[in-house]
């Protein structure tokens, strides 16, 4: 959990530096990260906030950018369905791309032998530490952001941390094809607005896995 912290901090750092660069005050930047805590959606709506766009434009844009989390929440739902409404709200509210991927890597199926308590502790420990490191990055940006040259490209540590999560997940034929289809879809849809390329790639990657699996079942019969 602590291992990916440099990636999270670097990512948060560059996110907040661009929020500040777009004209958000330091104190507003701080609360934006605390309340909304969604890097990709914060970056997407920042130009709209700076340009005084109507609220519904801002919120709708964020909703489209966040739509991948609707799929993610469906994936973790069977793992946490026996908790109360407010507990589930608490569990879901801090989910991130990275913690979701790590959790599914560790607990691929809802019926695991280690017990529900272990799942919950792993998930909450991870999302809380990610939240903490994200806020650290935001604070570094607020206090020292102007001393860090953009040309250093520190934000690249974020994608690098994700590479370390992608590779171990591509371990058999279905996963390889799913990943290739997702990558191809991403290249084709990269310039869609609202970062829709993420959701398109997710849908394409999952569909590809379904098709590959059907094909190999046919061969076995």
């Amino acid at each position: 959990m602590l291992e990916s912290s440099p990636g999270i901090i670097a990512w948060s750092l560059v996110t907040s530096i661009s929020l500040l660069g777009a004209g958000l005050s330091p104190i507003d930047t701080f609360w934006f990260n605390i309340l909304v805590y969604a890097g990709s959606s914060q970056l997407a709506v920042m130009p709209l906030i700076a340009g005084d766009y109507p609220f519904w434009t801002v919120w709708l844009t964020a909703l489209i950018v966040m739509s991948r989390f609707v799929i993610f929440s469906a994936v973790i739902q069977p793992h946490f369905k026996h908790y109360s409404f407010w507990q589930r709200m608490g569990i879901g509210s801090l989910n991130t791309d990275m913690s979701f991927a790590k959790f599914i890597e560790k607990f691929p199926s809802p019926d695991n032998s280690q017990g529900k308590q272990v799942e919950l502790l792993y998930f909450m420990g991870m999302v809380l530490s990610h939240w903490f490191f994200w806020q650290i990055g935001a604070l570094i940006a607020i206090f020292f952001g102007s001393y860090i040259p953009i040309s250093w490209g520190l934000g690249f540590a974020g994608p690098l941390a994700l590479i370390a999560l992608i590779i171990p997940a591509i371990k058999h034929k279905t996963a390889v094809i799913s990943a290739l289809v997702a990558a191809g879809t991403c290249v084709l849809t990269i310039n869609l607005p609202y970062r829709l390329t993420i959701v398109c790639s997710v849908i394409a990657g999952v569909m590809a896995a379904v098709l590959v699996d059907k094909q190999s079942q046919k061969k076995n019969i």
Binding site: F72, S73, R88, A161, I163, I170, A179, T197
Partner: protein, 111 residues
């Protein structure tokens, strides 16, 4: 935006974050997802991560048009190769970041 508008925007965005992250987790028992589909949603996280990483590795954003353009000879691509090597050799996220940043920074001086 003035301060009041900004905070209205923030609270709306907070709700968007909570609702999107919570959605199925909150109402899922009323809309059960068939197990057969659920099994394949396992591939969702990797696909999402790929779509987040690729634009940073294989593309550059044109500052004028804000569109992504394919660029394969870039410090980012060398950095990603360094990261992949780092992971395959050590299996550690930290080594992936360190070797990737080293390759990226070196390539920055040569490209």
């Amino acid at each position: 935006m003035n301060t009041v508008d900004l905070w209205i925007a923030f609270f709306g965005l907070m709700l968007v974050s909570l609702l999107s992250r919570g959605s199925f987790l909150l109402v899922g028992s009323k809309f059960p997802i068939p197990r057969s589909i659920h099994e394949f949603l396992r591939y969702a996280p990797t696909a999402a991560l790929i779509a987040i990483v690729l634009p940073d590795v294989m593309f550059v954003k044109d500052p004028a048009t804000q569109l992504f353009e394919l660029k394969l000879y870039s410090p980012q691509l060398f950095g990603a190769i360094g990261g992949v090597i780092g992971f395959l050799v050590t299996n550690s996220i930290l080594a992936t970041i360190i070797l990737g940043m080293a390759f990226f920074t070196l390539a920055r001086f040569f490209i």
